[in-house]
Symmetry: C2
DNA sequence: TTACATACATACGGGATGTATGTAACTTGT
DNA sequence: ACAAGTTACATACATCCCGTATGTATGTAA
């Protein structure tokens, strides 16, 4: 032993420890203060290192945010996938996946990072390259429901975006609601109703006149 | 005349000119470079004034962004409202409003500011206080469709968020599509299908088994 | 153990924000 | 029309943060 005593760590252990500390600190600070208001000094101070260590492992603030975001997005898609798999019927699996997405979005690290900060911090294209994780999950869910015959064949891309957007926007409502559980159930009820429109052909429209808004 | 000659302007004219120049410069720069990458120096340089003028009329960068955003949001809601009013049937009016929202979102100043930058720059609550403009428009559209009997009575809030989120997320897809017009029509087709689910009661679900994803 | 690579700390320059202070333009009362 | 006061703007500065460049310690391999 060359140094004091038990401080002998391999290089890999050192990097893993500091990167984990930096990623953890960044995750919490981004979730509470947002991307712009979180300084690298704050991240490093919380992680117990200096900015030298940071710039050795990461290229800049956007890079570490991208990594944090990717992890969060992966956790989210994992939850959706598992909920979907627990049902043999793709239709109920799809609904379960939607519920899982809403429930997971209650965590601040999820909704704040993926729904609020990511679009501006990463830009549309970079965000999509990672978001593909979770949105793909919804797309394959829809595809399997179509393939199984629950839904007549529909173009997947627009449908996926409509569904995903409906869920993410509603998730922010659920998060900020007083009674989140009740709001979540109500949202899922209405969503089921909308999705029901996919299965059958109904001629919409009515001839009533109306007062001006 | 006391000074040179034609340079005599009233105070109100002066403030209107500079604030308009600053708001216009900020609008364009925010739309092209985003909120974070747009410096006050750049805004002032483009407006032809110094930062002293800026801080005389605005408190900070977030404040001027909020004003720019409010104007854009108002333009958007105005377009939706007019499209809605051009139809006597609330149902077709609602569809027309959705189409107007998608079409207006093609302008970079609309989608970049309201859909990408605003959430992070303003935060959820501040954004909602202004966004109320456009989202309320959708809500009243739904409310009138219900009142007219086109749709059975449904809880408005969750439904509004689902519809609004579906539209905004899809708008970003439409913007980045190669053939925006075709994508827009396809999106509206699928949306009509989803909305059709509101009018009738269909029992969804199917008993098919499926392969794991 | 010596030579090298990796992990981290410190120091510095550039740029951006916000404030404080100074100056010019306009307005108002007499 | 002129003085006093208010508004509109410019300049200077203090501070913070990012990113780089350089230095130092620790681990690794011959």
């Amino acid at each position: 032993m060359s140094t004091t005593s038990a401080s002998r760590r391999t290089q890999r252990e050192r990097t893993e420890a500091t990167t984990a500390a930096l990623l953890g600190a960044a995750r919490e600070l981004f979730a509470t203060d947002g991307f712009a208001l979180t300084s690298l000094n704050a991240i490093c101070e919380r992680a117990g290192v200096t900015r030298g260590a940071f710039y050795h492992h990461f290229s800049n603030k956007e890079q570490i945010f991208r990594e944090v975001y990717a992890v969060e997005q992966h956790r989210l898609s994992q939850a959706v996938r598992e909920s979907f798999r627990q049902h043999s019927d793709p239709w109920t699996g799809l609904i379960a996946g939607c519920r899982a997405l809403l429930e997971k979005s209650l965590e601040p690290t999820v909704w704040r990072l993926t729904l609020v900060e990511a679009p501006a911090a990463l830009g549309w294209t970079a965000m999509r390259d990672i978001q593909t994780d979770c949105k793909n999950q919804m797309r394959t869910g829809l595809a399997m429901a179509i393939e199984a015959g629950c839904i007549p064949s529909r173009p997947l891309e627009p449908l996926t975006s409509l569904l995903y957007g409906a869920l993410t926007e509603s998730a922010l409502d659920v998060v900020h609601a007083e009674d989140t559980a009740a709001w979540l159930e109500q949202t899922l009820s209405e969503l089921r109703l909308l999705l029901a429109g996919l299965v059958g052909r109904i001629e919409p429209g009515c001839a009533h006149t109306r007062t001006q808004p």
